[in-house]
Structure formats: C-alpha cells, structure tokens
Amino acid sequence: MTKEQQELLSAYFDGMPVDDMTLECLLSDEEVMKEFAAMSEIRAGIRNEIPEGVDFDALSEAVALEVSREPALQQRAANDTDAVPHDEAEKASRKRFSRMWHDLGQIAVAAGVACFCVFGVQFWNGGDSSSGKFAEQSYLGHRQRVTAAPVTNTSVSPVVTAIPDGSGKLTGSYNTKSQYYREAGELEKLKEKKNRELNTLDAILNDHERVLRTVGM
C-alpha cells in the first residue's frame, strides 16, 4: 500500500470528505481493501456498532475449546482436577477459558482504541513542518479538501500489558482507559490547533480573493 493510499484511507476514517471516485479507485486495491475492512471493524468496535450477527460468547467458547485441546493444557487440567470427574473438569476449564477470552476480547477493543489514538495523533502530527521544504500537502479545489502530510516516524510503544492468569483476572499494568482519555485529550488539542491553522489559512485565501475584486488597476 502506498503512502498516498494510506493517507487517503486515514483521511476517510478521520471524517475528511473523500469523493466517491477516489474511494472507488482506492478500494480496487486488494491490500487497501483489507486495511479498510480492518479499520472499519475497529471503528465499529469503538462506536459500539458491531453487527448483531456476531456472537462473542459462541466465538469465545469455540476458541476456548480449541485451546483446551492443546496437549500441554490438557496435562495441566488433568493435574488440577485429579479429584473431580473429567466432564466437570472440562466444563470448569471451558468456563475459565471462556471468561479469559471474553476479557481478552475487551482488551483487544481497548487496545484497538488506543492504537487508533496513537496512529491518529501521529498521522495528524506527521510531515516535515520546516518552512524551508515543500511538504506534499495540498489544499485542493474550492477549499473543500485538505490532504495531510505523510506519516513519518511511526514508532508505537505498547499501550496495554496484560497477562491472563487463568482465573479471569488480569495481572500486570492495564492503563488503557486513562491512557485513552489522556491521548484523546491531546488529540483534541492537536485537532483544535490544526483547525485554527486551517481556518486562518482559509481566511487568508478568501481575503486575498476578496481584496483582488476591489483593487484598482
């Protein structure tokens, strides 16, 4: 996927207007289509818009069952449940794993949100802002669309460190929520600054046109 495609896709998910033809061209690329699908899922998760057909409980059960069939885990389960019948041990194991996967699902959504914020911040903040270089930015047409700078320096530090211990509780640091709000606040500030910048530039361009209409020869 090219940088330009990535920028357009990110612009689209940031709510910037992308015309239908551009979007159609963009989605004709298989790699972009996959990225689009992944970002759509993340967005749906953030907005609590996951389709009704998706049954998380059934999914967790199925995954848990597959995991429980792993030989190492079966051995551990056998040691733990020497005194109880096999069916009960399997049920308990399923329940535990089911809960674990349910928790992991929540973590995954939280991580998605956090990653989205980090990438979002970096996307908005990207590009060479030195005045001596011409960044690949354009401010297109009748002020209807701004294409932001390409993403640079995309090192992402892990946001969530969580270790399931099998009991359904998490150990380790789990700072997604506070980090999410902190980053969301920073993102808001960045957006505000950027909007102020764009509004001023827009005002300058409009003023230039307005004044030219009245300037004498």
Partner: protein, 322 residues
C-alpha cells in the same frame, strides 16, 4: 597537415550551418509576429459579438463557463457565467464590474482588476502585458472544431507562469488558454467547446444593457495605500504595488498588514500576521494559486497568489522588518 585541416573544416562548417538554421528559426518565431497576432486577438475579442463555451480546469476541478461579448449602443459588454450549480459570475460594462451570485446581493466596483486571467489576456492593454511576457507564434492546433494559431506568452523570468493562447484562425477571437510553469507543466487550462460568432449581441449581453439602471452602487476600491515599517527586498520585475492596507482579518481575528502586487496578468499578496503557532501546512497549492508561509517571530509572512511556489518563497524570505 592539409588532411587535418580538412577534417577540422568539415565539422566546423556543419556546425556553422546548424547555428545559421537556428538563427533562422529564432527569426521565424520572433516576437514581432507574436505581438501582431496578440494585438489582433485583443482587438477581435473586444470588437465582435460572440459567445464562447469553455471549461476551466483547475486543481482537479472542471467548471463549464459561458463567456459572452457584445457591442451595444452603451458600449462593450462582457458576461461571464458559471454553468454548473447555482448561477454566479460577473459582467463588465465599460470600467464597471458587477459580481453576482444566486442568493446574495450583487456588488459593483469601478476600475478594478479583472477577475479572470482569461479575460485579462483579452482586455488588459498589450503594452502592459508585453513588459513581462514575450509573445511567440508556436504553431497551429484544432480547437473546438476550428483551426487555431498558438501564441506562447513566455514569462521574462521564472517568477511567474507562462501562457499558451489559442487564437481562432478565422476570427482572431481567443478560443482557449493554458497556464504553464517554466518547465512546461500544465497548471490551469481554459478549453473551448464551442464558439458562436453572432451578428448581434446575445440575450445575456442585451439583459445587461437593459438592466443598466438597476446596477448596484460601486464600492470604493482599495482605499488610500498605507506605509508599513517593513519591506520586501525581492519583488519580481514588472510587478507593481496596487494595494496596501492594515485591517482585521475577519471577526475576532488579528490585525494584518497586506500588500498586493500585479503585473497585469498575475497578482500576489503578501500578508504580515502574528504567528499562527502551528506549521503543519507550510504551503498550500490550489491550481495556479499558491500560498507560502515564512516565520519571522513574532510575525509570519505569507505570500499568496498566482505565482510559482519557488517565487513566493523568495519573496516571503526577502522580508526585512521593523
């Protein structure tokens, strides 16, 4: 020795004949023929009744336009109408320009710069234009089903764009134009679709003639120029200051100091404003209009107009302020 001279003489003579041919080419494409054709185009475009339909392609947008011109008892009238979306455009009658747009009050101004480069090419006096551009006849082309001759208005330096004009062979009316950078990249184009040469002015021109009494009162243009404590060391030759004012940029925004320069075809503004603070968008490109930002704390110098970005950079960075 004689053989050696023979070997030297042959390429020398060949080189001389190539240079002579190049000299002939220069003469055949000289500016005299170009100037004459350009003058004829301006005369024809301002003295005939016609309607030209064309598209303006700029910054990835295509806008269909109808341009009408007519000679009436009240004088020469031209009428520019954007054909897509809600009707908007302007018309000129003598030294008056009236802007109109659906849903808004029209406004009028006298002796002001013409709003479109396409119309400027037809109506700005040739002697003013030819100070900064040299006309060459560049060939022939079929445009809108008609044979046209090409004039290249070459900018005298790289600080401005050049123009390729397509002039109808039969009537000398301007059919289309292209704005190109110094390395011949297309920046904006006006592409004729149809030209109708008429015996009498068309309805649009007649409407303007009949509505003369209801024109809005012209606004003051420009105001008295102000002097600032700063200057720009590098203004490209041929550009003259036409505006210089200090005012507030919109409601609640800071005071700005603004100067405008024009060479008759292209204009640019230079603003001195308080630092914006963010520099995520150091440049803006919008068709042939560019914007370049240069920070000189506590100010920001913004050059914006119909110039290549490199020229705007030079201008903005030549700021010397107090």
């Amino acid at each position: 020795m004689r053989t050696l001279l023979k070997y030297l003489a042959v390429p020398l003579l060949a080189g001389m004949s190539v240079l002579a041919a190049a000299g002939d080419f220069e003469l055949s494409a000289d500016s005299a023929g170009g100037s004459e054709l350009f003058a004829n185009m301006q005369k024809a475009s301002a003295s005939k009744n016609y309607e030209l339909l064309f598209t303006r392609v700029s910054a990835g947008q295509i806008e269909p336009v109808s341009f009408s011109h007519g000679i009436t008892e009240a004088g020469s009238i031209s009428h520019w109408l954007f054909l897509d979306g809600e009707p908007s455009g302007y018309f000129t009658k003598g030294d008056l320009i009236v802007y109109f747009a659906y849903g808004t009050e029209p406004f009028a101004v006298r002796n002001a710069l013409l709003p479109s480069v396409f119309v400027r090419l037809m109506q700005v006096p040739a002697e003013k234009i030819l100070k900064s551009y040299t006309p060459y006849i560049a060939g022939e082309k079929r445009i809108a089903g008609r044979l046209s001759r090409e004039i290249r208005l070459s900018a005298v330096d790289n600080s401005r764009y050049s123009y390729i004009l397509h002039v109808d062979s039969k009537t000398d009316i301007l059919l289309g134009a292209e704005v190109v950078s110094h390395n011949n990249n297309l920046v904006e184009s006006f592409n004729a679709v149809d030209l109708a040469v008429l015996d009498t002015p068309n309805a649009k021109v007649q409407n303007v003639e009949n509505a003369s009494e209801s024109f809005p009162v012209p606004v003051e243009n420009g105001g008295k120029p102000e002097r600032f404590s700063w200057n720009l060391q590098e203004i490209p030759s041929g550009f003259e200051p036409v505006f210089s004012q200090r005012y507030a940029l919109g409601d609640g925004l800071d005071m700005v100091e603004h100067v405008v320069y024009s060479d008759g075809i292209a204009d640019f503004s230079v603003y001195r404003i308080p630092l914006i603070g963010n520099m995520d968008f150091p440049v803006v490109r919008q068709g042939r209009t560019n914007l370049y930002r240069h920070q000189v704390p506590p100010y920001e110098i913004i050059a914006v107009g119909d110039l290549p970005l490199e020229a705007e950079k030079r201008i903005a960075e030549s700021y010397r302020g107090g």
